[in-house]
């Protein structure tokens, strides 16, 4: 754990890291992909559908970056359009209807910044996910596997449990963006990365995540087996929680409370 915060950012962005689809294929069985938001389009940056965790059906949703240049281009480098967020919400509502738990894999530098994305309400799409996820009455577990870029990542992470890979990062703004706004110098990204407290250890100590997943055997069978076992155990616990949505409310309600002084 000797890497600096900015080294972690670079590791999190590495195109050789397993992507959302790798996790889906290796942890679950019988993945069936569903497409489209039923409003405008299908967004390839977000993949979703149903699969079996051991023998139980779950809804899985992942932001997909792709590995090769062609894939990455097709997936828009994992930067979702509003349609992606609307598709994810549609699938989450479907999960709620059929009593399936929801598992999300998050990996994005952020929601896409484009003319069309703005015209079709990027802000509104993210807001609606945050609003609706807060009261979905099935368990939700979100795992940040690479980059957790601001609202575009949070839109799939209003969950009962949020976990991070050891070298994943989670931040309100990219270190480069922060440095250029605050210090008019994108080269100060290293300072910004350290100041933003964006590593998995930082997120855990701030109470934003519950668990850090080791990357010692990343991409190997044992790695995925371990995550499958952890998910199974955690879902067992969450499924018997009669105060699930109240506990989810409290989980987010308490964040930042200690950062506020009353005088």
């Amino acid at each position: 754990m000797s890497e600096t915060a900015y080294e972690r950012v670079k590791l999190a962005r590495d195109s050789k890291r397993p992507t959302g689809l790798d996790y889906i294929k290796n942890i679950f069985k019988g993945f069936i992909e569903f497409h489209g938001d039923r409003r405008y389009a299908d967004d390839p940056a977000i993949v979703g559908g149903i699969a079996k965790l051991n023998n139980d059906p779950v809804t899985v949703i992942a932001i997909e970056k792709g590995h090769t240049a062609k894939e990455r281009n097709y997936r828009n480098f994992g930067m979702p359009q509003p349609e992606g967020y609307r598709k994810s919400l549609r699938l989450m509502k479907q999960a709620e209807k059929f009593g399936r738990p929801i598992i999300c894999f998050v990996d994005t530098s952020g929601a896409y910044c484009g003319i069309g994305a703005e015209e079709r309400g990027q802000g509104q799409a993210i807001a609606e996910n945050l609003l609706e996820m807060s009261t979905l009455c099935v368990p939700i577990i979100s795992i940040l596997i690479g980059e957790g870029g601001s609202g575009g990542a949070l839109a799939l992470a209003v969950a009962d449990r949020v976990w991070m890979l050891q070298n994943a990062v989670y931040s309100v703004i990219s270190p480069e963006g922060c440095a250029s706004i605050l210090w008019k110098d994108a080269a100060k990204a290293e300072t910004a990365a350290a100041s933003l407290k964006l590593t998995a250890e930082d997120a855990k100590s701030l109470g934003v995540i519950e668990r850090i997943l080791s990357e010692n055997d990343i991409g190997k069978k044992e790695f995925y087996d371990r995550i499958r076992i952890l998910l199974t155990e955690e879902l067992k616990e969450l499924s018997s929680d009669v105060d699930l949505t109240q506990n989810r409310y409290d989980r987010f309600r308490n964040l930042g409370v200690s950062a506020v002084v009353k005088e």
């Binding site: 703005e118 802000g123 209003v158 309100v172 922060c178 701030l206 930042g256 950062a259 506020v260």
Partner: protein, 219 residues
């Protein structure tokens, strides 16, 4: 002003952000802004009457770090929605914001989820929430409580969007369409209900409150 004369009672004026991440320069920045603005944070919350109907009111402040949302802003807005559920009051909110306050890192990002959950509870209680978007309303505030109201109004010519126009231009290398992200453009694309100039807002809001029967008469 929007509120009836003498009806505004401020809530949570004692809530201030400390510097939870020890972010460089944040203490000095916030102290300077506090002195210059004589406000303690980027939002003022309270109860008020509009056209003799009681409601909860929040007004964000652009001159306080560009209305950015940190832990204190999130806590104040969340507390106000919880108060409104408890006393069964409508909420009217005037937004202005550059987005989440980056000096509070992840904690400011989490305020988007926290305020959204509070808005949802208020909504599920059958209560009315009206947002009035003023210039500019962007970033994490657009992507949370600004876009979650039952009725969303905006002021003429106000910038309303998620990503900053400059960032979009740099990302896409395309010229932005005329009037991009202005309230008229956002209205045309179906994301707000109406554009209401400031001079009409009091009458407009009091009419909406009356039509929802949720405003209690002030005695």
């Amino acid at each position: 002003m929007i509120a009836d004369k003498g009806s505004f009672h401020e809530l949570y004026s004692n809530m201030k952000a400390n510097n939870p991440l020890n972010f460089p320069g944040y203490n000095d920045k916030i102290e300077t802004v506090r002195v210059a603005s004589s406000e303690t944070e980027a939002v003022v919350c309270g109860t008020a009457a509009i056209g003799k109907q009681k409601c909860c009111l929040f007004v964000m402040e652009s001159y306080f770090m560009m209305g950015s949302m940190g832990s204190a802003v999130g806590e104040k807005i969340t507390s106000l929605f919880e108060y409104a559920v408890q006393y069964r009051l409508p909420v009217i909110g005037f937004t202005v914001s550059g987005g989440a306050r980056m000096q509070e890192g992840l904690l400011s990002l989490m305020q988007m989820a926290k305020t959204s959950a509070a808005v949802k509870r208020h909504s599920d209680a059958g209560l009315l929430y009206i947002a009035v978007l003023t210039d500019p309303t962007t970033g994490g505030v657009t992507a949370s409580f600004a876009m979650e109201a039952d009725i969303i109004l905006a002021e003429p010519g106000a910038t309303v969007g998620f990503a900053g126009a400059r960032v979009i231009e740099q990302t896409t290398k395309k010229a932005l369409p005329e009037g991009f992200q202005k309230s008229e453009f956002v209205l045309e694309h179906g994301f707000i209900d109406s554009i209401v100039p400031r001079s009409n807002q009091k009458k407009y809001l009091s009419e909406l409150l009356k039509m929802h029967h949720s405003g209690r008469a002030m005695i």
